[in-house]
């Protein structure tokens, strides 16, 4: 039996989402077609759009469906920055690569990319941000909550700072959605992903203020108010809405048990991120002297699935840029693990982790390499 503690990477499909998708997959109809079948598919898309908008306090018309969070982040950053003569792009130093890499691509196109510093808990330095803002900033991006260490950012404050200077603000809310209440009122651009909340992989959304003009990444049939062309995935979108509407339980008590348990069985483990303003499903630790990838392998062999940070295609462990930005040294950054809970996590999963962890830590410490 696998004890899955990597819900921040992806979480199991919720039965409600599966049911909604099964129903829609059996229907024919392109949501852009004008006949009855098309209109029925379109109705599913629009009802889903309204449901999703309602959960986050958005106007349905602001919701642009995409292939996922990465595309939403790319559309926001590139779409906003390429549509203006303003030359500066500000992103926090702890962003996901879905934001950092499009920013890098913009730098190659001639924009100036600057990193907004964070403190030791991973919180954006608001004073620094305020000083960085001026009329030449094309877009600011700060994630709602960090995917590695779980720190929740003061998003409303950041949005106000940007609005006061007339600068478009984008937030990657992929990890925050479904974990903390989101109210996107006053936030012009928000990236969402379905599979992190129990919906299907391959569906996401950019919730974008209609007053903001963006240059599309994908040209074609003109769907999604001409910003994102491509046939709408009615079934996937229905699955996204159904997953988001499913009943949520508060994961914070179980997460707190996990944190206390880890600190009991490995007393020198260091909790990273903001101890208070953090995602209720996230626990992130450094284990001094233990290579994170060795710990992961040993826990995997013991049937406990965890992560060293954000997954990367080649599987090559890199020191976390998030921890480095928070001031950790490279050794600490290489010795960390993320445990993340989801809608079907149980006390059994936490117990299995706590049983497997001490021998794994002891063994990984002997393997050294740090």
């Amino acid at each position: 039996m696998v004890h899955y503690l990597d819900h921040a990477a992806t979480t199991p499909l919720r039965p409600e989402a599966l049911a909604a998708m099964q129903q829609q997959w059996l229907q024919v109809g392109n949501p852009s077609s004008l006949h009855t079948a098309g209109r029925q598919a379109r109705r599913v898309v629009e009802e889903s759009r309204e449901q999703i908008a309602a959960v986050i306090g958005a106007k349905p018309a602001d919701v642009i469906f995409t292939s996922g969070g990465t595309e939403a982040d790319n559309l926001a950053l590139k779409g906003l920055a390429r549509n203006t003569d303003r030359s500066r792009v500000l992103v926090s130093a702890v962003e996901h690569h879905a934001v950092l890499d499009p920013a890098q691509a913009l730098a190659e196109e001639g924009k100036t990319v600057e990193l907004i510093p964070v403190d030791g808990l991973g919180r954006v330095d608001l004073v620094a941000l305020e000083q960085m803002l001026d009329d030449d900033v094309a877009v600011v991006a700060v994630m709602w909550a960090n995917n590695e260490v779980g720190t929740v950012q003061p998003i409303a404050q950041i949005a106000r700072l940007c609005a006061a200077r007339g600068v478009p603000f984008h937030t990657d809310a992929v990890q925050a959605l479904g974990q903390v209440p989101l109210d996107v009122d006053g936030i012009p651009s928000v990236a969402l992903s379905a599979h992190k909340v129990g919906g299907p992989v391959g569906v996401g959304a950019l919730v974008l203020d209609r007053d903001l003009a963006v240059r599309p990444l994908v040209h074609g049939g003109g769907q999604e108010r001409d910003v994102r062309s491509g046939t709408l995935d009615a079934a996937g979108i229905a699955g996204f809405a159904a997953a988001l509407a499913a009943e949520k339980s508060d994961l914070a008590p179980l997460r707190d048990d996990l944190i206390r348990g880890v600190q009991d069985v490995v007393p020198d483990a260091v909790l990273n991120g903001d101890p208070l303003d953090r995602l209720p499903n996230n626990a992130h630790f450094s284990f001094p002297g233990c290579p994170g990838d060795a710990l992961l392998m040993l826990l995997d062999a013991a049937g406990v699935a965890v992560s060293t940070g954000s997954a990367c295609t080649a599987g090559i462990p890199q020191p976390s840029h998030v921890l480095l930005a928070m001031g950790a040294d490279e050794r600490m950054a290489r010795s960390s693990l993320r445990f993340s809970l989801g809608w079907n996590s149980s006390a059994d999963d936490v117990s299995a982790l706590l049983a497997a962890l001490p021998p794994a830590v002891e063994r990984a410490r002997r393997a050294g390499g740090l």
Binding site: D293, M297, A314, R363, A367, G369
Partner: protein, 358 residues
């Protein structure tokens, strides 16, 4: 046993891992990340994203766990630094030997043992035979693929925790077996280049890392400057190509690099008779079992050079027949028939004309 199978992404290591699984071992596939940069294209070395993918797919087919272990820093500090230091000193290193000594059967083995594994298995073509001296390292049976040369730096402790399941096979059989097992790398070409120089341009790599400067190419006989070179450290004794000399030699024969003086940044060229070597002096001696002070041996100075009969006497190797194209820095491997006794790094050579055959 619990075995780490090093999966490079090539056909040999995939079949080796498959045989380890068949032998009843509990096998975990591990791909080594050695280059700081991941090269996006080509499947030429062991450092491309495509190789990681191929290694992962082999592990999937075999149904074994798969991880990437990052030894880039250790690789940098041992193999790469040594590679550059040797070239800067005017010697010609063999980074594959160095990698086996410092990474595959040292860093990887140490980590594997600390994590509860008993041995490291690779797709090298060499045989391990238990004999009176312990675990003996022997040539692989396929003469075209034999890799005992690059393993000759392993000591008894390392050999006791190594597994080479391909040593008794020919390459053609291994490819057939890979195809029969459904391993998609069955047709993948062999890698020949130095893995961290995927474009094969060793001199360009050295120029970038060592900041090589142009200097004179000098006739070893007359002392006349015959042309310009692009950095002495990029040249190897015995090399003929890439000299671009304008005038032919007086006797009309081809000219070879006969000496490289890095401190004065001079490359000396001369006729091939100057390359005839009758004796080798070695350091960094390593033994696969007990040290050997004096013996009749066969010595081999490159991975696929012909072995030459010789007498080993301390740190000297007296050749029965002349060798050509011997460069300091090359590894001399000592064989007793098919068995590897040990190895040493060549530091100096004696001309054939001055040698009294042993």
């Amino acid at each position: 046993m619990r075995v780490v199978a090093a999966l490079s992404g090539g056909v040999d290591s995939a079949v080796a891992a498959a045989r380890l699984v068949d032998a009843g071992h509990e096998v975990t596939g591990v791909h080594l990340a050695l280059a700081e940069k991941r090269y996006a294209g080509g499947g030429r070395g062991c450092c491309t994203l495509e190789d990681v993918h191929d290694a992962r797919r082999a592990a999937d087919v075999l149904g074994i766990p798969f991880y990437v272990w990052d030894f880039a820093q250790r690789f940098q500090e041992t193999v790469l630094d040594d590679f550059l230091a040797e070239y800067s000193a005017g010697r010609t290193p063999n980074p594959c030997v160095s990698c086996n000594q410092h990474i595959k059967f040292a860093a990887v083995l140490e980590r594997a043992q600390a994590l509860g594994f008993d041995a490291v298995g690779t797709g090298h073509y060499a045989r391990l035979v238990t004999g009176p001296a312990g675990v003996e390292l022997h040539r692989g049976v396929d003469p075209a693929k034999d890799q005992s040369y690059v393993l000759a730096v392993l000591d008894q402790e390392q050999l006791q925790h190594s597994l080479f399941p391909l040593g008794a096979s020919h390459k053609a059989e291994v490819r057939q077996e890979a195809a029969a097992r459904g391993l998609l790398v069955a047709d993948k070409p062999d890698s020949h280049d130095i893995c961290f120089i995927p474009d094969g341009d060793t001199r360009g790599f050295l120029r970038e890392r060592l900041g090589l400067a142009d200097g004179p190419i000098v006739d070893a006989e007359s002392g006349a400057t015959l042309g310009q070179h692009a950095g002495a450290a990029g040249y190897t004794i015995g090399q003929r190509r890439g000299l671009f000399l304008q005038q032919p030699a007086a006797d009309g024969t081809a000219r070879y690099v006969v000496d490289v003086d890095v401190p004065s940044n001079t490359v000396f060229v001369g006729s091939p008779t100057r390359l005839r070597v009758g004796g080798l002096r070695v350091d960094r001696l390593r033994w696969t079992a007990d040290p050997v002070s004096s013996a009749r041996i066969a010595v081999q100075i490159r991975a696929h050079a012909d072995p030459v009969a010789a007498r080993l006497d301390g740190d000297e190797v007296i050749l029965d027949e002349e060798m050509t194209g011997v460069a300091a820095g090359q590894i001399a491997v000592f064989y007793d028939a098919s068995r590897v006794l040990g190895s040493g790094r060549i530091t100096a050579t004696t001309p054939w004309s001055e040698t009294v055959p042993g």
